[in-house]
């Protein structure tokens, strides 16, 4: 298998998708926090290998994050407690996004805050950037004291925040939900009613490890967020459970490491997927999966990947979805406007130069 790392194919007709006003070259994107703001990966391959770029969580002011150790290994996965270290929205808007925009990939900014006001301030500041195509509201970070998961754990708080952010945001708002709740369907429906344009399922699962010799937790933060293949079944079941109850697109995330995993999430009802921790095992994972998917689609006997969308559900669910939605959920064919957008973006790209990161 040879892959043109620095010269990606112009289109992936069997994988492309149009949602949230964005022409996705294909349905894969990196998960927030596992790709920085993209600059480091731009030295490894052409970022047009991505369907979209999802940034690290961005807060109003710069944050130093937690103490170390910030990561620990677990069976088939890892724990992280980074603590939302980021340079703050001002630096992101003024210095980082203009650079990253030149890579020619739609940018989705992950937003976090300690309280409603901070989320709103970040979203306002992002409105000033022409490069932001969507916002992903992180109401599910388990590693900070205030904010984060606190919002995601309570349907009412989550809905109120979503509503406030929707009122401010110039671009579509994706809400990223936590699996650390009693009933994820309730939260999902609440934020959809509050105006969420899409849902990302799921953020990390709270966990910990203990150093038995030192008799204390490995992580400075005591607990962290579990990610990687260990949580894939959990993520898959959340996508599957939520799918019948919402009409907005679902972005599946959790433990995806190969083309088969992508298909499983599509079958469970995810229109798009994100890949996180797998980048740490194989930094080239997204181009590799994109390269391999057509072969897998052949084997599965479908032309476009969305012919499989939600197909793990019983017929009643699929029929109900169609009626309820009144929107095209499957079979997104070639889209003229999408192709035009691609062409424009390609023209704008000056590929691959490594740039200094913000710090």
């Amino acid at each position: 298998m040879s892959i043109a790392w620095f010269d990606p194919p112009r289109a992936h007709p069997r994988l492309q998708h149009h949602a949230l006003g964005i022409a996705f070259r294909h349905v894969l994107m990196p998960a927030s926090g596992t790709y920085g703001y993209g600059e480091e990966f731009a030295g490894l391959y052409d970022l047009r290998w991505l369907g979209a770029l999802v940034t690290k969580a961005t807060t109003q002011t710069p944050r130093l994050g937690n103490g170390t150790p910030r990561v620990a290994e677990t069976p088939s996965g890892m724990l992280n407690a980074i603590g939302l270290e980021n340079p703050g929205v001002e630096v992101v808007v003024e210095r980082i996004l203009p650079t990253v925009a030149a890579y020619g990939v739609p940018i989705i900014v992950n937003v976090a805050g300690s309280d409603e006001d901070e989320y709103v301030e970040v979203v306002r500041a992002l409105n000033a950037s022409p490069h932001v195509r969507a916002i992903e509201l992180n109401i599910s970070c388990p590693n900070v004291k205030a904010g984060g998961m606190h919002f995601g754990a309570d349907a009412t708080a989550a809905a109120r925040l979503t509503e406030k952010v929707k009122r401010e945001s110039r671009v579509p708002v994706i809400v990223k939900l936590s699996p650390n709740v009693t009933d994820i369907v309730e939260v999902a429906r609440a934020v959809e009613r509050a105006g969420a344009d899409a849902l990302s399922l799921i953020n990390t699962v709270v966990g910990m490890t203990i150093d038995i010799r030192l008799r204390r937790p490995h992580l400075w933060n005591t607990t962290g967020g579990l990610s990687g293949p260990a949580i894939r079944p959990i993520a898959l079941s959340h996508v599957y459970r939520v799918y019948p109850h919402v009409s907005v697109p679902i972005i599946g995330v959790g433990g995806i490491a190969g083309a088969e995993d992508v298909i499983a999430f599509i079958l469970a009802g995810a229109e798009l997927v994100q890949i996180g921790t797998a980048h740490f095992v194989d930094p080239y994972v997204i181009p590799r999966i994109v390269h391999r998917l057509p072969e897998l689609l052949d084997a599965l006997g479908v032309e476009h990947i969305h012919e499989l969308l939600g197909r793990a559900h019983p017929d009643e669910v699929l029929e109900a979805k169609q009626v309820k939605n009144g929107r095209r959920a499957v079979l997104s064919g070639p889209d003229q406007s999408a192709d035009k957008a691609h062409a424009a973006e390609h023209a704008a790209v000056r590929a691959g130069e490594r740039t200094r990161s913000w710090d």
Partner: protein, 300 residues
């Protein structure tokens, strides 16, 4: 000639010495491995030796290996998925003619234990992070450099000494180990540097800490260090008011090794404040005096 050289040449003596396999570029990639990418290669183990019961040297080859600088590290996948995350190990030597890479490591846990069980001919998945290395231009040809290494920290300094020597720099190396059984790399280092050996118990070389004999009057244009934290703290204190360039290669717990996850940050003094720098991307080599260690009063 060191143990692993004998191992590579099949000359015996070392406990695990084996004959090297065919040249790596003639063999096809093992089917269980993912295909190569510019910075991620399926290398072949062409040599393996044990320097001490828990200190192992691996020699890896691949025809497309990117150029590696002293101070850089590689990120290794542990075979058979026995460890989930990759493991960082410093480049102890790199030969750009034969495209062979040497790693020297201590077996401390599940990952290094499994890596110490590989055999010549086995395949190892290696990621080559685009990290920084030791700044060498700072010492002119004919100039002097001092190298200070402790324990496994000596590994990257072996390659550094060779590279400096090749540039015409006179290298004085001070290396320290716990005891004689732990000593490695002495012969190889002696080929490129004037070496002073220290052990904690005096079982080889001089007795004491490697930093003990180091005086601020020592002539050098740059000092390079790698070792345990107390060694850096001692060095930093000893040369506090010395303006000459000094560099320390750090370790940190990593996940991505490309600079995106921010697992590996260390506090560094810059612009009058404390900032976080990534060991994997901004490092692993930092100006010694910029580092802030937990034990130091100024950090409190």
């Amino acid at each position: 000639m060191d143990e692993a050289d004998r191992a590579v040449k099949g000359e015996g003596e070392s406990m695990n010495a084996m004959n090297p396999p065919e040249r790596s570029d003639t063999a096809s990639a093992a089917p269980s491995c993912v295909p190569d990418a510019p910075r991620m290669l399926t290398t072949t183990v062409v040599g393996m030796a044990r320097h001490a019961p828990t200190i192992v040297e691996l020699v890896l080859a691949h025809p497309a290996m990117p150029d590696l600088q002293p101070g850089q590290f590689v990120h290794l996948r542990v075979p058979e998925g026995e460890a989930f995350l990759r493991r960082p190990l410093s480049v102890a030597d790199y030969d750009d003619g034969t495209h062979t890479l040497r790693l020297i490591f201590r077996t401390v846990g599940v990952g290094t234990k499994r890596l110490s069980a590989v055999r010549p001919g086995d395949r190892l998945d290696v990621f080559f992070p685009p990290s920084g290395g030791f700044p060498m231009d700072i010492v002119p040809s004919g100039g002097r450099a001092v190298i200070v290494g402790g324990g496994l920290g000596v590994a990257p300094l072996l390659y550094l000494a060779k590279a400096l020597n090749l540039r015409g720099v006179r290298v004085r190396a001070r290396i320290g180990f716990a005891a004689v059984e732990e000593v490695y790399g002495l012969e190889r280092l002696s080929a490129h540097a004037e070496v002073e050996l220290w052990t904690d118990d005096g079982s080889a070389g001089r007795r004491g800490r490697v930093t003990d004999g180091l005086s601020p009057e020592e002539p050098f244009q740059a000092l390079y260090a790698c070792g345990p934290e107390p060694m850096f703290v001692a060095l930093k204190a000893r040369f506090r008011h010395d303006g000459r360039p000094m560099f320390a290669a750090l370790e940190a717990r990593m996940a991505c090794a490309v600079g995106v996850c921010r697992a590996c940050v260390v506090p560094v003094r810059a612009d009058g404040g404390i900032v976080h720098r990534r060991v994997c991307r901004d490092g692993p080599v930092f100006p010694l005096q910029s580092l802030v260690f937990p034990g130091e009063e100024e950090w409190a």
